[in-house]
């Protein structure tokens, strides 16, 4: 008896992904959260190490746009992402933009 059901690998790679998400629905949001923080913490951390300061709002926008693009690609296939998750990703992207534009210094209009 196997520990878990292996996905059917004879159809296609995206079908394996759909089956994995059907078995564990939280896979998609956690993947997006992971991608967001890889870009956000990675980018701002390296900028901080190099320059002594980090533009967190800019990295937030970049990280949001990254997961926004990933979500849009996911939205072309049935069963990978739900509409409410896509809407939340869009809202997070817009809020990152709000933070970014209100965070500029006077010399950065």
């Amino acid at each position: 008896m196997s520990l878990y059901e292996l996905p059917n690998a004879t159809s296609s790679l995206d079908n394996m992904l759909v089956q994995a998400i059907a078995a564990s629905p939280s896979f998609t949001p956690l993947l997006l959260v992971f991608a967001f923080f890889v870009v956000f913490l990675g980018g701002s951390g390296r900028q901080l190490a190099r320059n002594g300061t980090a533009d967190y709002s800019m990295w937030s926008v970049i990280a949001s746009l990254s997961i926004f693009m990933i979500s849009l690609i996911m939205s072309t296939i049935t069963g990978i992402i739900r509409l409410d998750w896509l809407v939340i990703v869009v809202v997070v992207t817009i809020f990152s933009g709000v933070w970014f534009f209100l965070d500029r210094k006077p010399s950065e209009i």
Binding site: L72, T76, T78, I81, L83, V87, G97, P106
Partner: protein, 143 residues
């Protein structure tokens, strides 16, 4: 952050929102996506409302531009008696930001949450800043 920068920031927020939503809607249309962002009525409404608000702001700024360049200050150095020259930006600019914040807030926190004081306070702060900037610019008091 002065009045020019704040107004620019608010309008840029509106343009950013329009760009993001427009890209998402057209991406879904071009690729026949199964999950289409335009299936969410509120997001679609935010898209059209933001475009309308930014368009209205554009019209207002064009019509007010003439009055701004024609504003004169008397030789005795007194300030203008009306703040009409500063009426160009706030209403539509605040409208754009308010709409975006409201829809975004509802999408994440829902409509019945007691956390609503956060949104109303934030919008109140934006309105207060605008009023103060206008007053200080009008009176010539440094920011």
């Amino acid at each position: 952050m002065g009045q020019i920068q704040l107004t620019t920031a608010l309008i840029m927020i509106g343009l950013f929102t329009i760009a993001i939503l427009g890209f998402a809607v057209n991406f879904a249309s071009d690729n026949d996506s199964v999950i289409d962002i335009s299936d969410d009525a509120q997001i679609l409404s935010l898209y059209s409302d933001s475009a309308t608000e930014v368009g209205d702001w554009n019209d207002n700024s064009t019509s007010q531009y003439q009055s701004i360049i024609e504003t004169t200050i008397a030789p005795d150095g007194s300030t203008p008696q009306s703040a009409g020259s500063f009426a160009i930006t706030p209403i539509n600019a605040i409208g754009v930001a308010k709409n975006i914040m409201q829809v975004g807030y509802i999408k994440i926190f829902g409509t019945g949450s007691g956390f609503g004081i956060f949104l109303s306070t934030l919008i109140g702060v934006i309105g207060f800043m605008f009023a103060l900037f206008i007053y200080k610019t009008w009176r010539g008091i440094p920011d």
